[in-house]
């Protein structure tokens, strides 16, 4: 009930400056203001009363919407677990949900142990995969976003780079792994390089498209004001391209997370992809299934985090 009292307090605060301003006015006006003030207060009370009455029904309504939002996904997950359980009963070699869950409890009770480079906790594996994605992706952003700006802003650059991008973009990022191994002579930077290559295309393309789609109205404002190229970039292009850029980043992160698992399977070392491969060699199928869930959940969280950021930077 304390929460219900809040609207009245707010209303009162909103009214205060208006009355203060009227103090200088003629007496009659001040009286009017008082009248206004009371009407506002009664209005506020009315709001409170409105909220009061259907309090019980509001709770049930909230419950209903929660149920609506929660129940279907639970059914979906239930279906998945059910099919999985069925397959595990019939198939034999695939462990069912119960042993996998038990193994997951064991794994996550100590995620950050370290017995040498080839036997580390699942936490370390996830973190080192994320680190590779972060570095490769960050480098791709540093190069891809400015390049996208240039391509979107200058026709010549666009025509120059368009055939290159069209040619290189459809190539599977894993095809670049040998080149990375050749150049860097090490597994770790080679995997990062693969991430870099797969992240950079969506970043360039989305940024360029965003720049080209800056509403003509905004560009006309820039032209009438005769803004410098720097002001145009920072005050008009960047804010209006940001949503497109974030879409590019989201796509990039998605692909990067797909690719890192595959790349690590090939390069070895520490990482969730390598871990999957290692557990396959040990024939620990429970761990492979756990890894599948972990990869899915981390990917989902990355996506959601970026969606959240994108929402904050979308105007109107």
């Amino acid at each position: 009930m304390t929460a219900m009292a809040l609207p009245t307090g707010n209303q009162g605060m909103n009214v205060a400056p208006a009355t203060a301003g009227a103090v200088n006015d003629v007496a009659t006006k001040a009286v009017n203001q008082n009248v206004d003030n009371t009407t506002v207060e009664t209005k506020a009370e009315a709001v409170v009363q409105q909220n009061k009455k259907p309090w019980g029904s509001r709770v049930t309504e909230m419950m209903k919407s929660v149920i609506k939002a929660v129940v279907p996904p639970i059914f979906g997950l239930g279906l998945l677990v059910g099919i999985w359980a069925l397959i595990s009963i019939k198939g034999g070699s695939i462990p069912g949900p119960v042993p996998v869950f038990k193994q997951a409890v064991v794994l996550f009770s100590d995620p950050f142990y370290s017995n040498g480079p080839n036997d580390q906790g699942i936490g370390w594996n996830i973190l080192s995969s994320l680190q590779r994605v972060g570095i490769g992706f960050g480098l791709a952003a540093i190069i891809g976003i400015p390049l996208g700006f240039l391509l979107g802003r200058f026709k010549f650059m666009n025509s120059m780079f368009d055939p290159l991008i069209s040619l290189l973009r459809p190539v599977s990022p894993l095809a670049w792994l040998p080149i990375g191994l050749l150049v860097f002579k090490q597994a770790d930077p080679a995997a990062t390089w693969t991430i870099f290559i797969c992240s950079i295309w969506p970043m360039i393309i989305n940024t360029a498209v965003g720049v080209q789609r800056v509403p003509q109205d905004y560009m006309n404002v820039a032209r009438v004001l005769n803004l410098s190229e720097w002001k145009i970039a920072t005050k008009i292009l960047l804010p209006s391209v940001l949503p497109y850029m974030l879409t590019g980043i989201r796509l990039s992160i998605g692909t990067a997370w797909l690719v890192i698992v595959a790349a690590e399977m090939l390069t070895g070392g520490v990482g969730i992809g390598f871990w999957v491969w290692d557990e396959w060699n040990n024939l620990k199928v429970e761990n492979i299934i756990i890894a599948i869930f972990v990869i899915g959940i981390v990917g989902l969280m990355l996506e959601q985090a970026l969606l959240f950021i994108a929402k904050r930077f979308t105007y109107e």
Partner: protein, 271 residues
């Protein structure tokens, strides 16, 4: 045809034999031809005509946003080669930048025009003054999506006036507003005009608005290849009061002349 209002005042805009054609998929489209018009300093000129006749095209030519394919346009004796802050534009859809507050939107313009000569505090004062002029000081820290359409249009006007332009160009500035909001903005504009004595070119399709605000009304023929049909002088005394004018015979006569042109001489076949 006499293209100048009072030959005594200095011509700030001169348009000579200007024409505009666009290259389209179906070949060359002639939008405007043979536009001759002089606008003198401090004058309020309206462009009126049916939709699609080329009013915006003509305004964009004066703004320098597009360049003419024929003829020449001069501003202050110099050829218009592109847009510039001395010709401020109030766009039909306000065109405020949504990621900036109202204050910041106006500041961007003020900074561009006066930033090299004045200190930051002085620039801020200019912004505050412009917002106060259109009675929007209370919304300075609001974002465009937080205010109504009429308020946005006011900010757009404040932004244009804050630049202290030689000429103010307005493309149907009140077109998207309801009648009451439009009336109050027209009155406000009249007040601002009286204070600043600015030169204004305004596109409108509203007959009453044209007569209420203008010194001269340029009536355009239907496109394609539209040109100036007639020019109507509105020598009603200022300040003008919309309530008094409602019963003024001169006002009624000017209004009738406009309607006559638009709905008899240039009647547009229903498309």
């Amino acid at each position: 045809m006499n293209t100048s209002a009072n030959s005594g005042a200095k011509n700030i805009v001169q348009i000579e034999k200007a024409g505009m054609s666009f290259d389209t998929k179906n070949g060359r489209f002639i939008a405007l031809r043979d536009i001759d018009l002089n606008i003198s300093e401090g004058e309020f000129v309206s462009l009126i005509g049916h939709s699609g006749c080329g009013k915006s095209t003509l305004l964009n030519l004066i703004a320098g946003l597009t360049l003419p394919t024929d003829g020449v346009l001069l501003c202050d004796g110099r050829e218009i080669g592109g847009p510039g802050p001395e010709r401020a534009v109030v766009f039909q859809n306000h065109s405020l930048l949504p990621w900036m507050t109202c204050h910041e939107n106006v500041y961007l313009a003020v900074e561009r025009v006066f930033g090299t000569k004045e200190r930051k505090s002085k620039l801020k004062e200019r912004v505050d003054a412009a917002l106060a002029m259109v009675h929007m000081d209370h919304a300075a820290q609001k974002y465009p999506h937080e205010i109504s359409g009429g308020m946005k249009q006011r900010i757009g006007i404040a932004r244009a006036f804050a630049m202290e332009p030689k000429i103010l160009l307005m493309d149907e500035p009140f077109g998207a507003l309801d009648a009451l909001t439009r009336a109050s903005l027209q009155d406000e504009l009249n007040g601002v005009m009286a204070k600043t004595g600015a030169t204004v070119v305004m596109v409108t399709h509203d007959v009453d608005e044209a007569v209420l605000l203008s010194d001269r009304i340029v009536m355009m023929t239907n496109g394609p290849a539209a040109t100036i049909g007639e020019i109507l002088e509105v020598n009603l005394p200022r300040p003008r009061d919309r309530l008094a004018l409602a019963h003024d015979p001169v006002f009624a006569e000017k209004r009738a002349a406009l309607l006559d042109f638009l709905y008899k001489k240039q009647l547009k076949k229903a498309a």
